[in-house]
């Protein structure tokens, strides 16, 4: 029985891990895009502004869009976002539904990208301007300054908040169940019908072990980056 339950749960957990892995794959770079967007200073109508602090000077569409997106995504429950992304297109625009799994990945990636973007932004803004200026006076391009000077320092600073979010993501994958995506909690729950409650409790062990492994991984990465300070 134990082996049978373990196998069923492993199968469920594999689905959870797929959501986890794909979400990370998409949200880590997407977060960077949103982060740059929300730091964008592009003000296309600035040339119309006649005074400081005019509307035209402050009209920064990319920044507004990205900040608005982050506000909405962080301000509403992920569960609701899953439902909206899965059912919304059909209900509102008569579009075909996305496959459940795809909808899950879209919702999770968007959600986590927004959280990551804020972590990145905090990290980037915490780098002293002197680092940029040192790069500039040495004739580096903006891209070189970002990749060769700033990036690793940012990575080091965001390790702790990123590992927090990533561990939260492992647990959040259970929300996919709300739009009927099979994952480990569901797998555990399905044993209740057969009169077994312990498999549901047992799912906790899977999360614990996996998060334990992640914690070790992050500790290693942090150690790797501990060769410098700054």
């Amino acid at each position: 029985m134990f082996v049978q339950v373990t196998n069923a749960l492993l199968e469920g957990f594999w689905e959870s891990l797929k959501v986890f892995g794909l979400t990370l794959l998409f949200s880590i770079p997407l977060g960077l895009v949103i982060c740059f967007g929300s730091m964008s200073k592009w003000a296309p109508l600035d040339f119309l502004s006649k005074s400081k602090d005019s509307f035209f000077e402050k009209f920064k569409p990319i920044q507004w869009l990205c900040k608005g997106l982050v506000w909405v995504v962080r301000g509403t429950p992920l569960m609701l976002q899953l439902i909206v992304i899965f059912y919304g297109p059909g209900l509102m625009f008569d579009l075909p539904l996305l496959p459940r799994f795809t909808a899950t990945i879209v919702a999770f990636s968007l959600n986590y990208a927004c959280y990551f973007s804020e972590i990145y932004r905090g990290g980037i803004e915490s780098i002293a301007t002197g680092q940029y200026e040192a790069g500039q006076v040495l004739g580096m391009t903006k891209t070189q300054i970002f990749f060769k000077v700033v990036l690793l320092q940012v990575v080091k600073r965001i390790m702790a908040p990123m590992s927090n979010e990533i561990i939260t993501l492992v647990k959040d994958t259970s929300l996919a169940r709300i739009i009927s995506v099979y994952e480990i909690i569901w797998a555990g729950e399905s044993f209740i019908k057969k009169g077994l409650i312990w498999p549901l409790f047992y799912t906790g062990a899977f999360y614990l072990i996996f998060n334990g492994l992640l914690t070790i991984l992050f500790a290693r990465l942090e150690k790797k980056l501990s060769y410098f300070r700054g």
Partner: protein, 250 residues
């Protein structure tokens, strides 16, 4: 002919007029010491030279080449090319913490493809030797004292062979016992015929190293001349008052 010629630089931040028409020139191999009280615009002047600020008005010439003309817009590429005529050593070093000493010095020349890896390493080692840090090639900035960090920063700036090397209060962030080693390095550069502009509060140093001393007050050059003139026989009342104050302080 002058290496550096600065003509009528003006710069304001909003309503604050920081530089109100600054002009001077510097011959090759000369050292200019800029002194002046806090807020007089010394840093802003150096930042204009290094293209970290855009002046509102004024011209910057190096070796007879016009690098900056007022607030005329330059392409990023052009700014990068032009600013390489200058080097800047910051008050608080701004070394790159994730690279060791050697790499700090080599990074920019490498990115700018100034030579083969081997050549650049040789050159970096030679510069670090010059500032007395050949023992520290593999150290990271946090493992160094302030004085050592500042010497790395000097080597880093020298690695791009700027025509004019600027220092913004290079010893202000250092404990008093560490200023000597940095000032010695700068003195050594003078002997090697580098053209330099040093903002400093170290009057003794300015007097002994500079060929030209410039006293700035409220965004203008209040007085400029040889150290003997400015320190020994200042003409302006403001200069006299400043020097009296500086004398009492140090």
């Amino acid at each position: 002919m002058a290496v550096l010629e600065v003509k009528n630089i003006r710069k304001s931040f909003g309503k604050t007029n920081v530089l109100k028409g600054v002009s001077f020139s510097l011959e090759k191999g000369q050292v200019l010491a800029i002194i002046g009280s806090s807020g007089s615009g010394k840093t802003t002047l150096l930042r204009c030279l290094n293209f970290l600020e855009t002046p509102d008005v004024g011209e910057i010439w190096v070796d007879g080449k016009l690098l900056r003309s007022g607030s005329e817009k330059l392409s990023e590429q052009q700014v990068r090319e032009n600013r390489l005529h200058f080097g800047l050593v910051f008050q608080n070093f701004n070394l790159f913490p994730q690279y060791n000493v050697l790499k700090n010095v080599m990074l920019a020349p490498q990115l700018l493809k100034k030579g083969t890896a081997k050549e650049l390493e040789e050159r970096a080692k030679q510069l670090l030797d010059q500032v007395g840090l050949s023992e520290k090639l593999d150290s990271y900035p946090y493992q160094l004292s302030g004085g050592q960090q500042q010497r790395v920063a000097i080597a880093r700036a020298l690695a791009l062979s700027p025509q004019v090397l600027c220092f913004d209060e290079p010893t202000s962030a250092l404990d008093p016992e560490l200023t000597g080693e940095v000032l010695r390095v700068i003195r050594g550069l003078k002997n090697a015929d580098s053209t330099m502009t040093v903002v400093t509060h170290e009057m003794e140093f300015a007097r002994s190293v500079a060929d030209v001393v410039m006293y700035m007050a409220d965004g203008v050059i209040e007085e400029i001349g040889t150290p003997e003139q400015v320190f020994g026989n200042p003409q302006s009342e403001k200069t006299k008052a400043f020097l009296r104050g500086a004398h009492e302080k140090f």
